[in-house]
Subunit: 146 residues, 2 copies
DNA sequence: GTAATACCTAAACCTAACTTTAGGTCAAGG
DNA sequence: CCTTGACCTAAAGTTAGGTTTAGGTATTAC
């Protein structure tokens, strides 16, 4: 059994964050002795799950829901799977968006590299072809060379 | 010249957002006739830049800074490039993080798919090999099969 | 003439995930 | 005895990027 300060050190988290998680119901089994929180294996495990699911972009209320489902047993497997499928789809579309943004940023870096070499944007602006494929054209249009 | 309502319709943005952008200094050249905003080509162009840079995850204050640099001329090419290089590096590391999270989510989906088929987690837990390569092991450890 | 619109401002509100503050208990050390 | 440090609570503050509200002006429509 650990105090809140020990757990904070173990996980590199501020004490206030652990109290906040507790308040959000993420440690439903947490015990106390004379008002003081006592963190056991259950809570350390919960914290590992929290850190993991936060990386997946899950909100605290969803993490709490997931934990409740875990406590309910095998009947909630489908719900849990559905939650992860939804997260997966969301994450995939975000990654796709970010890759598009990254293409634009690469273009911007290249663009200013040329502009720095030339001392102006005339040549680099003329360098951009008119007949680009659609998906790349979007990048140029978006970046539209301001 | 357009009114705020017309621009809102053109860009599919709420009027309040355009007022907010104005307040943040994103339309430094904006003119008014008897108190009413008049959006011209400069402002429409600015809005296109804003939409583009927002996709790259840039904050409003950075977008404003970038616009100021653009107005200052070629001497700011290096600053502008540095800003995009920094954004690019940030974006690349975020994408890498998200791909790691995505691997974890895929694992979770597979895990619950098996658990649903079996009606319990016994087989799927036993299925996870002990001797995984490090980078994949992290995924399993993170997902640690709760 | 009055009602509906479109515009304006300042200021309050919103969300999520924390953090900070103010005020209080309790045990050990000097 | 009294100060330091670890714990506690409730409530307010923080951040970004808006949105909403309350109150006011001005033009057009009936």
């Amino acid at each position: 059994m650990y105090t809140i300060g020990q757990v904070a050190d173990m996980f590199g988290l501020p004490v206030s964050t652990l109290r906040y998680y507790d308040k959000q119901g993420l440690f439903p089994e947490l015990e106390r002795t004379s008002g003081i929180r006592r963190f056991g294996d259950t809570e350390l495990e919960a914290l590992r799950v929290i850190e993991c699911l936060k990386k997946a972009g899950m909100e605290i209320k969803d993490i709490r829901l997931f934990m409740e489902w875990c406590a309910e047993g095998p009947s909630t497997y489908p719900k849990r799977k559905a939650m992860f499928e939804e997260r997966k789809a969301h994450m995939e579309s975000e990654i796709a968006n970010m890759n598009r943004a990254l293409d634009m940023l690469k273009f911007k870096c290249w663009y200013y590299e040329q502009a720095i070499q030339d001392g102006n944007e005339d040549r680099v602006k003329a360098l951009i072809p008119d007949d680009l494929p659609e998906e790349i054209k979007d990048t140029y249009d978006n970046a539209h060379t301001q």
